[in-house]
């Protein structure tokens, strides 16, 4: 019996093999991208994750009141009076531009205090407003210190 020296495979295996090779190649290209994207998402969630926003009403009104009272005490009408007296006393010593600069700064602070006080009347328990008011008063005290040195 003669046997054929060559024989064709029962069906073409190549398309299947090629398909599997291409699929692996695709994964080689896409895999790292998908991995990176997943890692970035995890990093984003881990590194920058939201925290429940503090409801301002959660801060005790007494605490807010204490901040405002403390600010009022530090301000006192005396601070402004002293600042204006200092300006009058030093009118001859200060350069006109310096005096104008200080008066301009004082107006800026007073305007901020007026606006903050008005808002605080509407929202008396807002700690951010109370803190900003305290800072505004502190700026006035700072300005007085700056002026006191400007002789």
């Amino acid at each position: 019996m003669d046997l054929k020296r060559e024989i064709d495979p029962p069906y073409d295996l190549w398309p299947g093999i090629r398909g599997r090779i291409r699929a692996k190649r695709r994964w080689r290209v896409i895999g790292p991208i998908v991995g990176l994207a997943a890692a970035a998402a995890i990093v984003l969630i881990v590194v920058y994750r939201p925290r429940s926003v503090i409801d301002v009403t959660q801060v005790a009104p007494a605490t807010v009141r204490a901040i405002v009272d403390s600010a009022d005490a530090s301000n006192d009408a005396r601070v402004e009076r002293e600042l204006l007296d200092e300006l009058e006393l030093r009118r001859g010593e200060l350069r006109p531009e310096t005096e104008a600069s200080v008066r301009g700064s004082l107006r800026t602070i007073d305007s901020a205090i007026t606006e903050l006080r008005a808002e605080l009347a509407r929202r008396p328990n807002d700690p951010a407003l109370a803190q900003l008011l305290a800072e505004a008063y502190a700026h006035k005290v700072d300005l007085m210190k700056l002026l006191a040195n400007a002789s």
Partner: protein, 274 residues
């Protein structure tokens, strides 16, 4: 021609020197002109420079301290002052520009531009309308202006920066405690509070630009009473304030106990990733 004009304007050069005990005070008053201070390893203070015609140079020195002044109040001088690093300098000027390297102490000007650098112990700088630029390595820094711009860099443990309407820029590292406060000035904060620092930024009406550094680990809270918040971080979006106005943003960054609080009244806030 220029040399002749200078000869007419300036008096002969001055030079004074005095050995000081460690920690001695150096007090300087120069209304106008320029003062350049350098901290050095020697134990002697050296004052060199020129005083403008019509101005008088005063100098008093003991081992325990030195006093330099230029009169009258409109007097002008150009001085180079070398001081022992251990000295505590107290310098006051009207419009004279002040530049110092490796010098600790108090620096004050009315409209002076103040530029400080190097490594120091404590530093306090104030100018009503002049610019203040500080880039030092120091445990403690206080800087204050009225309308002048305030720029802070270097490595600082405890930092206070305050203006009325001057802009504030902070890029300092190593911050353990930082207080940044202004009424109308814009704030650009890219300082590094690491994983334990505590930062407070208060701005009534100026805009705040906050960059969260890669090494930051902790919490960040932003509140604006009437303004808006824009965040570059897609995972965390600002929400409308509890009163129905303004916005709030709260997020946790990495791991740590650092805390950054930003408060504005009507200034807008931008939060950026590095």
């Amino acid at each position: 021609m220029i040399a002749l004009a200078l000869l007419l304007l300036l008096q002969p050069p001055i030079e004074r020197r005095q050995a000081l005990t460690p920690g001695a005070g150096v007090k300087i008053f120069v209304p106008a002109g320029r003062v350049h201070l350098v901290g050095w390893d020697k134990d002697t203070v050296v004052v060199r420079g020129t005083v403008a015609r019509g101005s008088t140079f005063y100098y008093g020195a003991l081992h325990g301290g030195v006093k330099v002044s230029v009169d009258p109040d409109s007097g002008s001088a150009t001085l180079d002052v070398y001081v022992p690093r251990s000295s505590l300098v107290s310098i006051k000027a009207v419009s004279a520009d002040i530049e110092a390297t490796d010098v600790s102490g108090w620096f004050y000007g009315v409209s002076s531009r103040i530029h400080l650098g190097g490594a120091v112990r404590d530093l306090e700088a104030e100018s009503i309308s002049g610019e203040v630029n500080i880039a030092v390595t120091a445990p403690w820094v206080r800087a204050r202006t009225g309308q002048g711009r305030l720029t802070l860099g270097g490595q600082v443990g405890d930092l206070t920066a305050s203006t009325v309407s001057g802009a504030i820029e902070v890029a300092s590292t190593g911050l353990e405690r930082a207080r940044v406060s202004t009424v109308n000035g814009d704030v650009r904060f890219a300082g590094d509070a690491g994983q334990q620092g505590l930062v407070d930024i208060d701005d009534y009406a100026g805009a705040v630009d906050l960059t969260l550094t890669p090494t930051l680990g902790g919490e960040c809270d932003v509140t604006t009473v009437l303004g808006t918040i824009v965040s570059d971080i897609p995972a965390v979006r600002p929400v409308v304030g509890a009163s129905g106005r303004g916005q709030q943003l709260s997020l946790v960054v990495g791991h740590g106990s650092a805390r950054i609080n930003v408060r504005t009244f009507k200034g807008n806030v931008r939060v950026r990733r590095p």
